[in-house]
């Protein structure tokens, strides 16, 4: 097991290095000058001065080595060209809201997906099953930004069931811990639901097919022969049978959640990594773009690694050696 983990960690490190190098190459070779002044009255000498300050007057290989060295040795991502902030600080502020949103969305998608899959599996090929299947295909097909906009317009602006945006209410720093947590929850549920909805359809379909498949296996027939109730068969034994495959879906959905978070964060004015990345892309803030790409890669690699490790625990058929 330890060798397996070490091997996976090594592979992850190599993959991370490749991502860093590719990201740097793509950004460095893209046309445009990030120091070009936006105001035409600012003389070109100012851009030269800033290039020198940020080391952009150095040859590209030297820039790459200096950047990579700072990242690998000190986790120093440089300074934002736009705001002057250390990029690590900027993303340190932005990462927790994204993790919270993505985590809540993951929870929402599994609760919804498994729930709907169970409902469908109880009565295969019934009208209810058909409705769940159609609904899960529909939500899977609908773009997150559209669902998000509609959710804000109808549920927040129209019905007032949720805040229209942000992670907290105005001046929430004055609230006590319990009220502050409730305030975040009030702001979280709608974006998490929207973000979780698209993958929930996929999970519902996987859950349904796994459970139906389980009922036809020897284990399923044996459980029924022992007189277990249908509910117990599906909820306990069926879900245990489906768990490895559902877990694999989690590693698939991690990148989707992260890319979806960019959209959801903008629609819901959620102050996370997605918002920071979008602003950086719009303004040519290369250090932030590079760091956000790397953070995204780390999250996806970590999710994949965690899912693999959990899978080996859940499914004894998988040999790690």
């Amino acid at each position: 097991m330890i060798r397996f983990v070490l091997r996976r960690l090594l592979a992850a490190a190599v993959l991370f290095l490749i991502v860093l190098t590719l990201a740097f190459a793509v950004v460095a070779l893209a046309p445009g000058d990030p120091m070009a002044p936006s105001d035409p009255r600012i003389p070109p000498e100012q851009a030269e001065r800033l290039r020198a300050l940020y080391g952009l007057d150095q040859p590209l290989p030297a820039q790459y080595l200096r950047w990579l060295g700072a990242v690998v040795l000190r986790w120093d991502w440089g300074q934002s060209y736009r705001t002057g902030q250390p990029v690590a600080d900027l993303l340190f502020d932005a990462l927790p809201p994204t993790l919270l949103l993505a985590g809540a969305a993951l929870l929402a998608q599994y609760l919804l997906g498994i729930g709907l899959g169970l409902i469908a599996a109880f009565r295969p090929n019934s009208r209810l099953d058909l409705s769940v299947r159609v609904a899960s295909l529909l939500v899977y097909a609908m773009p997150t930004f559209w669902v998000g906009l509609m959710a804000v317009l109808v549920l927040a602006v129209g019905l007032g069931l949720a805040p229209a945006g942000g992670m907290t209410s105005a001046a929430a720093f004055e609230l006590g811990p319990a009220a502050a947590a409730l305030d975040v929850l009030a702001h979280l549920w709608l974006p998490a639901l929207v973000l979780g909805l698209s993958m929930a359809g996929d999970i519902a379909r996987y859950t349904r097919s796994s459970l139906i498949e389980f009922q036809a296996t020897e284990a399923g027939r044996a459980a029924r022969a022992r007189g277990l109730s249908e509910t117990r068969i599906l909820l306990v034994h069926g879900l245990a049978h489906a768990a490895p495959r559902l877990l694999q879906l989690a590693s698939v959905s991690a990148p989707l959640l992260l890319s979806g978070a960019v959209v959801a964060e903008v629609v819901f004015a959620w102050p996370g990594l997605g918002t920071a990345t979008l602003l950086a892309i719009q303004s040519g803030d290369i250090p932030v773009v590079l760091a956000a790409t790397a953070y995204g890669a780390v999250l996806v690699i970590a999710a994949s690694l965690a899912a693999d490790l959990l899978l080996t625990r859940l499914d004894p058929r998988i040999r790690v050696e």
């Binding site: 070109p44 600080d89 007032g160 945006g165 942000g166 105005a170 929850l185 979280l188």
Partner: protein, 533 residues
């Protein structure tokens, strides 16, 4: 069992959250505070190392003041200046010295007086190479800043330029006693340090900051204006997206939103309880025709393009009327605009005639005009992420197609397109400029601004150069009005750029707010006077 319990817990928490939210939104309005929605980033209170954006400047002006502030009387005449930290000022006879006396009652929020030392310190910081302030060029004519006494400072000038007061008042006065402990060379490396050492001279203090979300400003008790600010607290909430800000306004979570897009403004118009304000800003959107390319070398062809394009339709459909069709780069909301100039009318038959007169005919019968074997087919570029301009490109394409011209719209990343425009490596491109009231347009039309500069069209006209040079050094800008009018007429005839429109800035306010007067300088202008009825 576990999933069931988890589901119930989550449902209960969700319900509690929703109920909590419902209760929170029923709380009566707190009339001591105001919540403003803006698209902003505020990574540091030190403007010398912060982003050069309008929203950033609007917030900075709540904490710090300049010596003088430009009055928003742009239509009436050349810029005039109101005292801010300065009580009064006077020029020497040769206008090479400007002596400024500071207000006696101006204090920093920690109780220290604002002194001449602060003014000199600010100038040193503004001109320091390590600080690398974007607007350090505005201080080029200032040779030295001399402290006469605690309340008096003298600016020694290299030349008696008309822009001296603008140059002196560009940039805010910074607190020497709080910030001098940090060497200039370290300023850019640690912008957050200035939050920890923030003392202010403006109407507000910073009470709290949640990065990426909000700034909470509270009244500065040491502010020198009696009875101001009227509100105790301003909460600035940030969102990346204009539509998200609009949603916050419509749901009552913010009271004011500035920087609205035309489409979002449509959602707010006629909403009870909200008031939409459209006010001039200093921008104009244009298409530059690269005169080095075969299609755009003669003025007659460029005038024909102006007549082929229906700008009224763009303003009506894309901007929902929240703009004016432009006739000159000296925009209609500034004093020197030549009101006698009419925008070229949308007149496709006249455009066809002008094109024919310029030698453009459909020689090969393919529906596209050509001249000397060159088909009138070019790339029309604009920035990615500018949806209104992109929509305009589609309309221009259709308009030009109707007169036999094949324009091919293309979106290009903004930095890359600016570089291409400066290198003259483009055919035609849509962009926007923001002018200041110095009306020094040398950067856009002087022949010296062609190589690597912002004279994108590569337009060279000796008479235009002469008019621009003479206006830039005139001690009294109003005496140069005739020259500016002549300049506008030449540009109108030569059409190196087609001014598409002058957009209006859009902001929405709760109708119960009074004394709200946003202007081209700031959406939060006179914020200290705002109050609830």
């Amino acid at each position: 069992m576990i999933p069931v319990v988890a589901t119930r817990l989550l449902a209960a928490a969700g319900l509690a959250a929703m109920l909590g939210w419902g209760c929170a939104s029923d709380i009566p309005r707190d009339t001591t505070r105001l919540t403003v929605g803006m698209r902003f980033e505020y990574p540091t209170p030190n403007e010398l190392i912060g982003p050069a954006t309008l929203s950033y400047g609007a917030i900075g002006n709540q904490f710090f003041l300049p010596l003088m502030a430009e009055r928003p009387d742009f239509r009436d005449g050349p810029p005039t200046w109101a005292p801010a930290l300065a009580a009064d000022w006077e020029f020497s006879e040769d206008r090479l010295q400007l002596t400024v006396r500071l207000r006696q009652d101006a204090l920093w929020s920690d109780g220290e007086p604002v002194t001449a030392e602060d003014v000199r310190f600010s100038w040193l910081a503004q001109t320091d190479a390590n600080v690398a302030w974007d607007y350090s060029f505005s201080k080029e004519s200032i040779a030295d800043v001399e402290v006469i006494d605690a309340g008096t400072v003298r600016f020694h000038l290299d030349a008696a330029l008309p822009t001296v007061l603008a140059d002196v008042s560009t940039g805010l006065i910074l607190p020497k006693h709080a910030w001098e402990q940090r060497p200039f060379a370290e300023w850019r490396g640690d912008p957050g340090w200035f939050f920890e050492n923030l003392v202010t001279s403006g109407p507000f203090l910073l009470e709290n900051r949640t990065p990426g979300q909000e700034l909470v400003l509270s009244r500065n008790p040491n502010y020198f204006e009696d009875g101001l600010p009227r509100l105790e607290r301003i909460i600035l909430r940030s969102a990346t997206d204009s539509a998200a800000l609009t949603n916050l306004l419509l749901s009552g979570e913010v009271d004011v939103v500035s920087g609205l897009g035309a489409t979002d403004a449509q959602r707010i118009a006629n909403r009870p309880g909200l008031r939409l304000i459209a006010y001039p800003n200093r921008q104009f959107t244009f298409v530059s025709w690269n005169t080095r390319k075969p299609w755009f070398q003669d003025a007659q062809t460029r005038r024909a393009l102006a007549m082929a394009i229906d700008r009224e339709a763009m303003v009506a459909t894309i901007l929902h009327g929240n703009a004016e069709v432009g006739s000159s780069p000296v925009i209609s909301s500034v004093w020197a605009h030549d009101a006698a100039l009419e925008p070229w009318p949308h007149d496709p038959p006249a455009a066809r005639d002008a094109l024919a007169a310029a030698g453009w005919t459909d020689g090969d019968g393919d529906g596209i005009l050509d001249r000397d074997g060159v088909p009138f087919r070019f790339e029309l570029a604009t920035f990615a992420g500018a949806p209104a301009r992109w929509d305009a490109m589609q309309m221009i394409q259709a308009d030009l197609r109707a007169v036999g011209i094949d324009a091919r719209p293309r979106r290009v990343e903004s930095g890359a397109l600016i570089q291409r425009m400066r290198d003259k490596d483009f055919d035609a491109a849509a962009s926007a400029f923001a002018i200041d009231t110095s009306l020094d347009l040398r950067y856009a039309f002087h022949s010296q601004s062609i190589p690597g500069g912002d004279n994108y069209a590569a337009y060279a006209n000796p008479e235009v150069d002469r008019l621009l040079d003479s206006f830039a050094v005139r001690p009294d800008p109003s005496a140069g009005l005739e020259d500016l009018h002549r300049l506008q007429r030449i540009l109108h005839d030569d059409q190196p750029m087609l001014v598409l429109w002058e957009p209006l800035s859009l902001a929405a306010f709760d109708v119960e707010l009074e004394s709200v007067a946003p202007n081209a300088l700031s959406p939060l202008a006179n914020l200290q006077e705002w109050a609830w009825r």
